[in-house]
Symmetry: C2
Subunit: 428 residues, 2 copies
Amino acid sequence: MKANIPESKQKRVVIIGGGFGGLKLARKLAKQDFQVVLLDKNNYHQFQPLFYQVATAGLEPSAISFPFRKVFQQLDNVFIRLVEVTAVNKEESLVESSIGDISYDFLVVAIGADTNFFGNANIAANSLPMKSIAEALAIRNKILQNYEDALSISDAQEQQAYMNIVVVGGGPTGVEVAGTLAEMKKHILPKDFPELQFDKMQIHLLEASPKLLANLSEKSSEKSKKYLDALGVKVTLNARVKDYDGEHISMEDGSSINTKTLIWAAGVIANTLKGIPSEALVRGNRIKVDRFNKVEGCNNIFALGDVAFMTEEAYANGHPQVAQVAMQQGENLAQNLVRIAQGKELKPFTYKDLGSMATVGRNLAVVDLPFMKTQGFFAWLIWMFVHLMSIVGTKNRLLIFINWAWNYITYDQSLRLIIRTSKKEKLN
Amino acid sequence: MKANIPESKQKRVVIIGGGFGGLKLARKLAKQDFQVVLLDKNNYHQFQPLFYQVATAGLEPSAISFPFRKVFQQLDNVFIRLVEVTAVNKEESLVESSIGDISYDFLVVAIGADTNFFGNANIAANSLPMKSIAEALAIRNKILQNYEDALSISDAQEQQAYMNIVVVGGGPTGVEVAGTLAEMKKHILPKDFPELQFDKMQIHLLEASPKLLANLSEKSSEKSKKYLDALGVKVTLNARVKDYDGEHISMEDGSSINTKTLIWAAGVIANTLKGIPSEALVRGNRIKVDRFNKVEGCNNIFALGDVAFMTEEAYANGHPQVAQVAMQQGENLAQNLVRIAQGKELKPFTYKDLGSMATVGRNLAVVDLPFMKTQGFFAWLIWMFVHLMSIVGTKNRLLIFINWAWNYITYDQSLRLIIRTSKKEKLN
């Protein structure tokens, strides 16, 4: 079956995935002489760097999501389809999807990465990942429900399992969620649940390597640990989780932690797509591309962002799987597709590292920029400014700013609602 | 099993349900010498009058919800439990619940009402009710998903079934949702879905009686119909739905309408609770109470709000099932419980009708107040003011105001996100 997308005289670029890379590419190409077909499972772009604030009841999903249709409202060469992509048929230049086959002149695979449980089925089944808005909401609901449930538990040790929260993975996500939880423990939870004893509640951050924020400078890494220590987070480095049954974490060193809540932010693995030549797949399921983002062994298929594996001089092991790489590749690929159409020479991609940052708790952050490294309150102001400016949509920006200001002044994240979608809801 | 709630010297009032009536009562009693136990399925109070704006992507659930724990944060005589109540054991003065048995000195049943499908199982299975935030979100998701799906349909008639929306029930909810959908059809949907032909989209409002807004004045009723007509809503009075299979509505007069979306706002039926003496149940499952809200045949059990059936001179058939009755009864019952404790004479309840109102579309409303009836733009300003002032929480008020102002200026409800909670989410 052929999907219902109008034929056009323009060359058709099909983009699978509207994350940072796919969306940037689509926006750039929309202004060019191409027919752009954007395929995604969701009808909105998600701003992943703030998922942790959705999980900790500080922001609503809508504040960090933006409907694709609104981005491309005025354009008649952009076609958005909400689909499940099942495979690529390279020979016939077709994408197979839940709405039928979609032909392409150029295909761009921007399907990103998902949580890596490193093959442990128990951890996958019992822990809480945070790679989508739905998952972030599930974490929020789970934590709130656990405290409600804890009220009915009289056994002290069992009650503590409901109260403890363990975060695995000392990257920015893990650091940020652990810090925010520590602030909740301090300012909010004891007020909401005066019947529970929060001095017993433990927040653990477990990192398998010898340092937090491995991609940041030594100073930022150390400071982030210092800030978390001060907030009462139990940071353990060189800590390797062996197994988790939903109540007890077994560590490789034989120790264990009781918790009903394990937030898993320990690593990512690229999403896969049937039909991509297996010889192009490298470590972590990433797709090997050349400096023009062209998939190895393919003619008109490109990959970018977290799912792509490109090496350049300074990045012999590939680029970090972060938003900046995806956006810069999206921008470069848009230019190259125009150059292909014009028969011009292509420009190889070179990653320009604009820096990394992470916030810890209420008003501290660590920020490594090319021209400056700073930690503390001023870093936190930079962190806020950069994130506010990166969000799509003026209204989102305004609402996030108001939420942040409100939460900051009142010491309160007020979205402590356990909202589940109705049982009646179904995807047809 | 006994639920884990601390014993107290204070008399314990158990309130089942934190709607308008239950919450008002709990807030009043919290200041008195009682132990208050508030039981609810949700951890938040829902502001039902604005559900329709959640359903039509104008407001977020969080804007019209307020966590119970935040309301009662500073009080040590209030105990909130998130439970499913299964029965009342009148003989032993116990509430049976998912967390065990809860004893009471006084029990207040404030469990409200749910959608009435009048016994039609097909309609119950295939239509969309709007009596909870989850249901309102399900409507939003369904409508948005339908337009996405319509893009893949080539058969014109089938496509129309995806685009048409039928609202059944000409009360305030039905009028408000139909009006808002008409504005979306005019200002938003054609921009989001330029591939679809919205002149073909029909919005029906079906009302079984001969007039809309039966509780309002003749003038308001007529004007609301006029406003809806002008917006392009096909209002049909004396229209009785016979059946609905998820695609076709069969009407009693033999006609039919094709639609995948039937929003059912046609009536309510009180929720039931095992253990309430069956002789106390009257029409619509309501519980018969005396003028002090005491359940017939019970000593220390009260009922209030939508679930209660009380007659007074001017209301021989019971009070309307609206927020005002519930709140006034909550207030009066709080005073009477204090009077009981003090051995004083009780004060019978008298309903003071403060009026009704409904908004139609962008900037019109009909408002019947005791001292004034007005329709049009000024009525709409009154409607906004009253609703803003009724919302619990300053931040909610602020966010709703900003959303309304934004949507009004931009002609855009921007929350067109299909967000589902993760499959991983479960209750424990």
